[in-house]
Amino acid sequence: MYQPGRTATDTQLETKAPSAPVPDVTAELWDFLEKAGVAFHWVAEDGTILWANTAELQMMGYQASEYVGRNIRDFYVDRQAIEDILIRLSNDENLNDHEARVRCKDGSTRWVAISSSVYRKDGKFVHTRCVTVDITDRKSASDLRQRLGAIVESSDDAIIAKDLDGIILSWNRGAERIFGYTAEEVIGQHVSILAAPDRIDEIPDILGRLRRGERVDHYKTKRKAKDGRILTISLTVSPLFDAQGGIIGASKVARDITLTESQEHALEAVNESLKMANADLEQFVYSASHDLQEPLRMVATYSELLMRTFRDQLGPDGADYLDYVLQGALRMEQLLKNLRAYTLVSTVQREPVDYVDSGMVLDRALANLRPTIVESSALITRGPLPKVKLQDFRLEQLFQNLISNALRYKRGPRPEIKVFAEPERNGWRFAVQDNGIGIDPRYKEQIFDLFKRLHSVAEYPGTGMGLAICKRIIERAGGRIWVESAPGRGSTFYFTLP
């Protein structure tokens, strides 16, 4: 019958020896099949591998003794698939390029394409003749292509490919959705059908840059949709290269940002109107507090005049009543003054800010407070103080408010106040430390609120605005202000400035 020959070089491969002698031409053919670069094998009806050539053994990684004589089913990953193959073959079906997966000796899986037919003699199944081609690489490449294709198709953004002359080559669903043209309508057309009337010139420019291999990134522009609407588009265009590195076209990703644009505009408009409303309000507060001071002045001055001129007729009670009137008016006047100072912190804004010597500013503030300092015999010490970026009159007000508080809320005969500064991450941290009555930690935040006081006016005079003004000044300058204190232990006010 036939006899697979043992070649001189393949000492490692054993092949099944046939039982009968072979004529010469057959020996030659046999040798050819043995050494061919394609995997050949024969399988019996029951699946037994009768013979496999060198290429097949190499592909599967087995020695002949490990492979020939085994069942073909053992080498296929999907049991169902190999059963299906065997059934088809025994039904006289010829398989052509049938894909399946095999498992090699090292455990790896390869995709193969099988072409097979059955050799019958006298109607009886003798064996199959199989050609097996390893298509693993082809398969993964096509899987990748399919995956990329799915990504392109499913993207919400328009992904468009065009050649160097600007002819549209591909058009995804996102492009259909955004521009309104179907792929059929647009493939083969020049990309300028998408151009917005005032942007026609931009397209040749983009093409020019592409030809030079440049990429155009997130370029905001306008395009025209099928129905004539002008859209705002964010465009990224990259050149497409062939295997040799030559530029063959371009891929464009276009995102429709028309809605985002209009939302941004709406937001800007709201911001502008808010800013204006705020400015108006501050103007109003400023004017109102100014106008309110006049009638107060009348009340204050004339109560005093009344008291003086008619002292005898008024008697002690009358004098007291008028005194309350006067005090009320003066207090209100102070409140209004402070309210104006508070609004002024933001209205007088756009002046350029220079660096000021905080030590010098502190001196000015202390000079302003001189009468009170002398009267309370206060001892004020300081560490070295840096230059900071804040308008000098604001810094002066800041120091003045903090030190005036320290003097006011004193404990014992000799108030001691220390002012010092330490460098910080982005600037400086100042501290104004006193040995006064201290603050209950519960109220640490509240005291910075407008009009909030912790004591009655009779106990300690004040309008509850000093700290609110300080906080506003600091926060507008981009810093923070806070206090550390305990009742009876004095307080330290910290603030940061860039």
Binding site: Q293, R297, M298, A300, T301, Y302, E333
Partner: protein, 129 residues
């Protein structure tokens, strides 16, 4: 030139307190004040020794009165003092530019207001009281 009678009385009290004797002529709106200046120019009125002006006058603002006086020949040498409730820097600058000798803010304390009398004495060239 002041439209608030309460402030007129205070000015009168301040002048009295500091022994400034004379006639106090009061104009309650800017138009009348300007008319008065016109009369002096044309010779039918006599020149005052001191003019005290509030910027907030009805009909014509105090500023116009200042301008009017600035252009007047006869009143050039009469000192004019602005007595106002505003502390706006703009008002101060304008007043000084238009020839005001002094810009005074109306004080809220009686004593401080009366003390203005001393200032008026000084401007009038009188020795302190």
């Amino acid at each position: 030139m002041e439209d608030n009678p309460a402030d007129v009385r205070l000015v009168r009290a301040a002048l009295e307190e500091h022994g400034i004797v004379g006639e106090l002529i009061v104009f309650q709106d800017g138009a009348k004040a300007i008319q008065f200046i016109g009369e002096i120019e044309s010779g039918s009125g006599s020149c005052p020794d001191l003019m005290i002006v509030d910027l907030n006058l009805p009909k014509c603002p105090g500023r116009e009165v200042l301008e009017c006086r600035d252009h007047s020949g006869k009143l050039r040498n009469v000192p004019i003092v602005v007595l106002s409730s505003s502390d706006a820097a703009q008002d101060r600058d304008d007043s000084s530019r238009l020839g005001a000798s002094l810009y005074l803010r109306k004080p809220s304390h009686l004593d401080d207001f009366l003390l203005l009398g001393a200032t008026f004495r000084e401007i009038l060239g009188l020795p302190p009281n």
